[in-house]
Symmetry: C2
Subunit: 185 residues, 2 copies
DNA sequence: TGTAGCATGTAAGCCGTTACATGATTGA
DNA sequence: TCAATCATGTAACGGCTTACATGCTACA
């Protein structure tokens, strides 16, 4: 019954490996709240943005598995800062090395609707694609800001590669949608 | 508690609108088995391939909602052929017209792993991307066969557009992955 | 004759979301 | 002082998958 972490759990665990190696140990680790924000900044573009409640429950599960360590700070407001453990890093490496990689899954509501264009006519489909183009542009700008924040810092070289990948995808998608619009015209 | 069909249910309902308008009424409609095959041929490239058991249960649900009609053929082997009803078509149109369209969700295990390249090194990431290129090529051929089977039949003009969209996506993705491979040395 | 495909279903369970709930802290 | 943000959870439930079960039909 779910002893093995899911891909989403590994993704969250992976985000913890980018813990800024701070001089001050007081700031080590991330709270569930911060991890959720980080997921919203990066993970959501090519995976999912887990619900806040799931972030907390996954963290608790990873803790019982010994893959993260919770640093509890008592006080008026109790906060927990989570760090990945050595065992967590080893488990993550093992997962990367041995688990086979599924083909990406795309849930594309726009394509799904376009398939049914014979029910609505070309006009409505054009509107659909134009709206989608707007959203794509906004998404691309959001991801562009994330990419810019990564700069050319060697420590986030791979996240930067992934962000560039995403940006290419959005640009290509915009081009393709424009071509489709032309064919509907 | 789920009185309203989900997007997947509408997708399956939509597939039923492409029922070949046969001269022989005996062949009208699709069995759950055939619908599952059709989903595997088309829907899976940009939505999901629902499990067989889900196809059957969704069909039963759509029937209680009056959106499909089940034609039961008794005999040695009882089969049910499902057709979309007039109400089903109206409901589907209403859904297309009024429900707002979510942005696509991409679950990309390859990108997820690439993000964690600092844990494994560039060599393993190159292997990952090369494997992915192989899979992409196979996928593209599968979708190419589907596209070819649609031809330029006006009745499946929109599914053909969607298939072309998918083919563009696969080609662009291959190009982008090759560029990433180049940047990994 | 036996295997692959056709055809339909039940049961159990997990992943993840939505809705709800609580309270501290910070800054306008 | 009041709102936004920080921070952490619980409860309920739905969608979907996996595993299991059954039996017919066509064909090599």
């Amino acid at each position: 019954m779910g002893q093995v972490p899911t891909a989403t759990a590994y993704a969250l665990l992976g985000l913890l490996t980018f813990d800024r190696d701070n001089a001050e140990p007081d700031d080590a680790g991330l709270t569930g709240y911060e991890l959720k924000q980080r997921a919203d900044n990066t993970l959501r573009f090519y995976w999912v943005s887990p619900a806040t409640s799931q972030v907390y429950s996954e963290l608790r599960r990873l803790e019982t598995l010994g893959l993260v360590h919770a640093d509890v700070r008592p006080g008026r407001r109790t906060t927990k800062r989570y760090r990945i453990t050595a065992e967590g890093v080893a488990t993550l490496r093992e997962w990367l090395r041995t688990t086979d990689t599924d083909f990406p899954v795309l849930k594309h509501p726009v394509a799904l609707r376009l398939m049914l264009g014979h029910l609505t006519g070309a006009d409505q489909m054009r509107g659909l694609l134009e709206d989608y183009l707007d959203q794509l542009g906004r998404r691309r700008h959001e991801l562009g800001a994330v990419r810019a924040s990564l700069g050319d810092d060697e420590r986030v070289r791979y996240p930067a590669l992934v962000a560039d990948w995403g940006l290419s995808y959005y640009r290509d998608e915009e081009r393709t949608v424009r071509r489709l619009l032309g064919r509907l015209g």
